[in-house]
């Protein structure tokens, strides 16, 4: 039995899992960005990503190529995210966490409703970002689409890391997220750093939406809801306050649910979402800080 194991299939399934994990990772990083600075999970993150994907669809519909639409949408989403923070979040900046959570829930329905109002609820599709041909690596056939998705999502996360690690603005926004009081005293405009975080989160979400849609035969306004759950599970697995953890957690989750779906017959494709929820529950019970998160120390 063991000898007959199909290693080729395993390798293929791992790459497929990494590809979906990469998509989760971009959205998970968006969640972490906002969680670190405001202490709440932005429930509207998936809907914002869906809205961005519809913008991309409109651009492609008006004759732009996929990649032109991709980069334009990322830019539009960045400014959209900044705008949302200024209009909706800034007024509740000093409010209790629960208030902000409810605002993001409201934002969920607002963005979803706006997308239904602007784009009629018919199904649509985005062209493939990559060639659909398979590519042969060491005798195993992988899909270029999957490899491309992994590359783009990790590339986006990597660019974000470079920004935070090596630029002055990135340094200031890291400082503002951890210690707003002290950051103000050195002249950092903390409130704008929050807006910057929302902009970057929206841009990352746009990447994840635009990588999700082409892989599907068709999509509608509910496109990102399962992805948000997977991203949340990935972020919790890695530690909600750790960007690196969110990426590792999402990749692990992507591989895990794909392997379980492939090799455990009764899970199939239908039960993948419950598996993700089981991961959230398991992590919260066993290690609430996740793989890379740090326990918050409260001084009494």
């Amino acid at each position: 039995m063991l000898l007959a194991f199909d290693w080729t299939q395993l390798a293929q399934q791992i790459v497929i899992g990494l590809s979906s994990g990469g998509v989760f990772a971009t959205l998970a990083v968006a969640l972490v960005l906002i969680y670190r600075s405001t202490g709440v999970v932005n429930f509207a993150q998936g809907e914002m990503a869906m809205f961005s994907t519809f913008i991309a669809w409109s651009l492609v519909h008006h004759g732009l190529s996929y990649w032109a639409a991709f980069f334009l949408t990322v830019a539009i989403s960045f400014f959209g995210g900044v705008g949302i923070e200024r209009v909706v979040i800034k007024p509740v900046e000093r409010a209790p966490v629960l208030t902000v959570v409810i605002v993001t829930l409201g934002l969920f329905f607002l963005v979803n409703g706006a997308a239904r109002w602007i784009w009629s609820p018919e199904v649509r599709s985005l062209p493939n970002a990559f060639s659909t041909r398979p590519i042969d690596v060491a005798g195993v056939a992988f899909s270029i689409q999957d490899l491309g998705t992994i590359a783009v999502s990790l590339g986006a996360v990597g660019l974000l890391w470079l920004f935070f690690r090596f630029t002055k603005l990135g340094l200031a926004s890291r400082a503002a997220a951890v210690n707003p009081e002290a950051s103000r005293l050195v002249g950092v405009r903390v409130s704008w750093m929050l807006a910057l975080g929302w902009g970057l989160a929206a841009a990352m979400g746009a990447v994840s939406g635009m990588l999700t849609a082409p892989a599907l035969a068709s999509f509608d306004q509910n496109l990102m809801q399962p992805v948000l759950l997977y991203a949340f599970a990935g972020a919790v697995l890695g530690g909600l306050d750790s960007p690196l953890g969110a990426v590792v957690g999402s990749l692990l989750l992507g591989v895990l649910i794909n392997l379980i779906g492939t090799y455990v017959d009764w899970v199939g494709t239908d039960l993948r979402l419950p598996v993700a929820l089981a991961v959230i529950l398991g992590v919260l019970l066993v290690k609430p800080t996740g793989l890379f998160g740090r326990a918050e120390v409260v001084r009494v």
Binding site: V178, V186, G187
Partner: protein, 228 residues
């Protein structure tokens, strides 16, 4: 100026001044309003009244704006960013500045004052000792190239030798570089030695003010604050 935390008024009309290049101390018991005085100046607490710096009113300025105007505030508890490295903390101190070359020079100058920070420049600030973190907080404030330095309880929780070193460096900055300093201290003897003038606060008001040398000889100040 007066200042309040929500419904609680912490300062009831405190009036004080710091001259160009002058070192001034603010003394007083716990809860007298020393920290609030500094926070009111830098805008970290709601305040009213007149506050002017270098001829400009800063009574309505946010902390971001007072920092940009040239006031560096080293808060109580230091406010070092423990997740960032020593170097990153210093770069953050120079956040409002655009003059790259001068920032490089200042970094070298600050490392000259605090050689121990140079040794630990790539360590996370959270791994430093309390004394080193206080030095880092001071060094970060200097990276702003301030005209006025607000120091809140620099001696808090530190060993006497470290406190001595920090006050020696602050004194040097004041004398050699003409940096104006407003220092809040629990340790009155130390603060009076390091300053030219001093204010004693009592429940949100200035109770006594004068030359530090005179206050050191003053019978009532000695009994209440110096303990001998």
């Amino acid at each position: 100026m007066t200042a309040r935390y929500g419904p609680v008024t912490a300062l009831h009309g405190v009036s004080l001044s710091v001259g160009e290049g002058e070192a001034v101390a603010v003394l007083g018991a716990n809860g007298a309003g020393k920290t609030t005085t500094l926070r009111a100046i830098s805008g970290a607490v709601r305040r009213s009244g007149r506050i002017a710096f270098a001829g400009q009113s800063i009574a309505r300025s946010s902390p971001e704006a007072t920092a940009r105007a040239g006031i560096a505030h080293v808060p109580e508890g230091r406010g070092t960013l423990t997740d960032l490295t020593v170097r990153e903390n210093l770069r953050l101190g120079a956040y409002t500045r655009r003059d790259r070359a001068a920032i490089k020079e200042d970094e070298a100058r600050v490392f000259g004052y605090f050689p121990r920070l140079r040794e630990r420049r790539d360590q996370r600030a959270g791994t430093l000792s309390g004394g080193e973190q206080q030095m880092l907080a001071l060094a970060r404030a200097l990276m702003l190239r301030p005209r006025l330095l607000l120091l809140d309880e620099p001696s808090l929780g530190l060993a006497p030798t470290v406190v001595g070193e920090i006050f020696r460096i602050v004194g040097e900055l004041n004398e050699r570089e003409g940096l104006a300093v407003l220092v809040v201290e629990q340790n009155a003897a130390l603060a009076l030695e390091a300053s030219a003038r001093a204010y004693v606060l009592e429940v949100g008001k200035v109770a006594i003010e004068g030359e530090s040398a005179a206050l050191r000889r003053d019978e009532s100040v000695r009994r209440s604050y110096l303990g001998y």
